[in-house]
């Protein structure tokens, strides 16, 4: 009897585990949805999009926590999140994990987002601001509201990155329903999130944008950076369409919002 109960219990546990895995798979790979086509016959990704998760706080699973800025109280507190990293944990090299922890401890001083620096890739996607995809045959533009960050994805005339940059150098291709964007040529200055997760200038990002319904995309990212991680790893999340008829990318020209923070100590002091 006891033995049977144990068996049933483990079977249920195993089954529910399998079910969860199956559900996760279903979410990640929506059934064979076929997107409407652009006039030149490609899956139509045009639109204004936004993610809805806590990845910008921390791409790894994390509990809720207090605001890093006391004055902001609950308004600045960190919402919990299940994480967007497949397998939960980023496979850091041991030294790199230490650096991430130092970054986290000093995040108010170090996080490039706080300084209104270009957010890098893939952080720009899940930073929480809307972005617009402008899809043409030779070039696909991604225009982000935050800091007016912009990416040019070359679908034709593809070249290697001419130099390192914040947003990298992106070449794209179509694989069936999926836009695959291969980005290299990053500098080592952007972060993945506010938790200090970081990369080096050896970063190689491959993003897959797959329409999963009229109003959602599946976004999968493979991260490769042998200077920082022991193996390539993946993030995935849905992206949602901003369906308001008057939706548009507005200006978030944040330089002037951070000038006092960055240069206030160099202000002329009144004569004593």
């Amino acid at each position: 009897m006891m033995r049977n109960r144990f068996l049933i219990g483990t079977t249920i546990a195993a089954l529910s585990g399998w079910l969860l895995a199956a559900i996760a798979t279903v979410i990640a790979q929506a059934p064979s949805y076929r997107a409407p086509r652009t006039p030149d016959g490609r899956p139509n990704l045009n639109g204004i999009w936004q993610t809805m998760n806590t990845a910008n706080w921390n791409i790894e699973p994390h509990p809720a926590g207090p605001s890093p800025v006391r004055e902001l109280g609950a308004a600045g507190a960190v919402p919990a999140g299940l994480g967007v990293v497949e397998g939960g944990e980023i496979p850091y090299l041991p030294e790199a994990r230490k650096k991430q922890q130092e970054n986290y401890a000093n995040r108010l001083k170090l996080d490039p987002e706080i300084k209104c620096y270009l957010p890098g890739v893939p952080r720009a996607t899940y930073q929480g601001f809307p972005f617009q995809i402008i899809q043409s045959t030779k070039h696909i533009m991604i225009v982000h509201e935050f800091a007016g960050a912009v990416r040019t994805i070359y679908m034709a005339d593809q070249t290697e990155a001419p130099a390192d940059s914040w947003m990298g150098w992106s070449n794209g291709r179509w694989e069936g329903e999926t836009l695959v964007v291969d980005t290299k040529g990053f500098n080592d200055l952007s972060w993945f999130d506010r938790a200090g997760n970081f990369h080096s200038d050896a970063l190689h990002v491959v993003e897959r944008f797959t329409p999963r319904s009229a109003e959602t995309l599946t976004y999968e990212v493979t991260i490769e950076d042998p200077k920082v991680f022991s193996r390539p790893w993946k993030m995935s999340m849905p992206i949602y369409r901003r369906v308001e008829r008057n939706a548009r990318i507005l200006e978030f020209r944040c330089v002037e919002f951070v000038e006092d923070l960055l240069y206030g100590h160099l202000r002329k002091q009144p004569a004593k």
């Binding site: 652009t38 006039p39 030149d40 045009n46 490039p112 300084k115 209104c116 620096y117 270009l118 617009q132 402008i134 899809q135 043409s136 045959t137 030779k138 070039h139 533009m141 225009v143 007016g148 960050a149 912009v150 040019t152 070359y154 005339d157 070249t159 001419p162 130099a163 940059s165 914040w166 947003m167 200055l189 008829r245 008057n246 548009r248 990318i249 507005l250 200006e251 020209r253 330089v255 002037e256 000038e259 006092d260 960055l262 240069y263 206030g264 160099l266 202000r267 002329k268």
Partner: protein, 354 residues
């Protein structure tokens, strides 16, 4: 590709249109735009027959890399009384302007020389630029000059000058420095699109319902939603939403893209305008390598009449590389730190002499 440093020493790399040897002196014969420029001249008179290629959704195709770099000044010079130069006079005007740019770079000729414009390919003559027989970009009023400020415009100019004075010296605080040096916005972004002196490059991409204009300077992007038959005219954006580049909406009138922009925040006043500025731009592709670009500015609280300029865009070579400006804006910090160090030294000298 030419590595270049912006005036603020912000890192920037331009790989657009820098097709000639960077070492070529600025006074050398004009760059590869000659052919394009010939077209630009012709288009003003004989462009009617040209029909632009179409995008897959049927819009006239404006896509690609363009520049509005030019030696034609916005306003007609004081000593010029005619609308058009002869070709010889135009060539001489270009040479004289190019020589002025080169003169800046001769050691000792200018007190505050930062670096050699011609060495880094930043002088206009080394890149594609739009040639034109016009003596001014302004075509209306007919004298080629911006109309005089009206009473309200003059009052505002005085108030702005007083407010600037009250803020103290230019190096007292970051807010006192020019918005371009602070990497907030540079002249080329507009609207209207004004040639920026260098890096005057744009990338136009179209998708159904949208035209996007990327300005090389500080990767400034304007996404212009288009009115269409299905949804009709776009609602006017709420007046509370005001932006450095305003809010644009566009429509096709035959071969011409007409873009109207309002909702400016007035913090980067165009030629003394207020936040009531309205800019109407008309883009017409008149040849494979030319877009006729005409803009009209209106602000009854600044000028008693609208004024209009023609500033053609000519095709140039891409791609445009990321212009991250603020991220390495060491110039601002160093200038302010230098000013504080000067003050400290002056205070110590004063103390020592007492």
């Amino acid at each position: 590709m030419a590595a270049a440093l912006a005036l603020t020493l912000a890192a920037t790399i331009s790989i657009t249109g820098q097709t000639q040897s960077p070492a070529q002196p600025a006074t050398a014969k004009a760059g590869p735009a000659s052919a394009a420029a010939g077209k630009a001249d012709k288009s003003a008179t004989a462009g009617k027959a040209y029909k632009a290629p179409r995008t897959p959704d049927g819009q006239p195709d404006l896509q690609g890399f363009w520049t509005n770099s030019t030696y034609v000044p916005l306003e007609r010079p004081n000593n010029v009384t005619k609308e058009l130069y002869t070709p010889e006079e135009a060539e001489a005007a270009i040479k004289a302007a190019a020589a002025r740019e080169a003169a800046q770079t001769e050691p000792g000729t200018t007190a505050d020389v930062h670096y050699d414009f011609s060495q880094f390919g930043l002088d206009r003559s080394q890149s594609t630029f739009a040639r034109n027989l016009r003596t001014s970009l302004i075509v209306d009023p007919p004298d080629g000059r911006i109309p005089p400020l009206n009473a309200q415009g003059q009052k505002r100019a005085q108030e702005r000058a007083a407010a600037r004075k009250a803020m103290g010296g230019q190096y007292d605080a970051v807010e006192n420095m020019p918005v371009g040096s602070r990497c907030i916005i540079m002249g080329g972004a507009g609207p209207p699109l004004m040639n920026a002196g260098y890096n005057a490059n744009y990338h136009i991409v179209q998708s159904p319902g949208y035209v996007m204009i990327l300005t090389e300077m500080i990767h400034d992007v304007r996404v212009i939603p288009l009115d269409n038959a299905r949804e009709g005219a776009r609602p006017q954006p709420p007046s509370q939403v005001r932006q450095w580049i305003g809010l644009s909406r566009g429509r096709w009138e035959g071969e011409t893209l007409v873009v109207e922009t309002t909702n400016f925040n007035g913090k980067n006043p165009f030629r003394g305008a207020s936040e009531n500025l309205k800019v109407t731009e008309r883009f017409t592709r008149t040849a494979d390598d030319t877009i006729q670009y005409r803009f009209t500015v209106e602000d009854p609280t600044t000028w008693d009449r609208p004024w209009t300029a023609d500033a053609p865009l000519v095709k140039t070579e891409g791609p445009i590389f990321e212009f991250a400006c603020h991220e390495t804006n060491y110039g601002i910090a160093n200038i302010l730190a230098g000013a504080r160090a000067d003050e400290k030294r002056a205070a110590e000298q004063k103390k020592g002499s007492n």
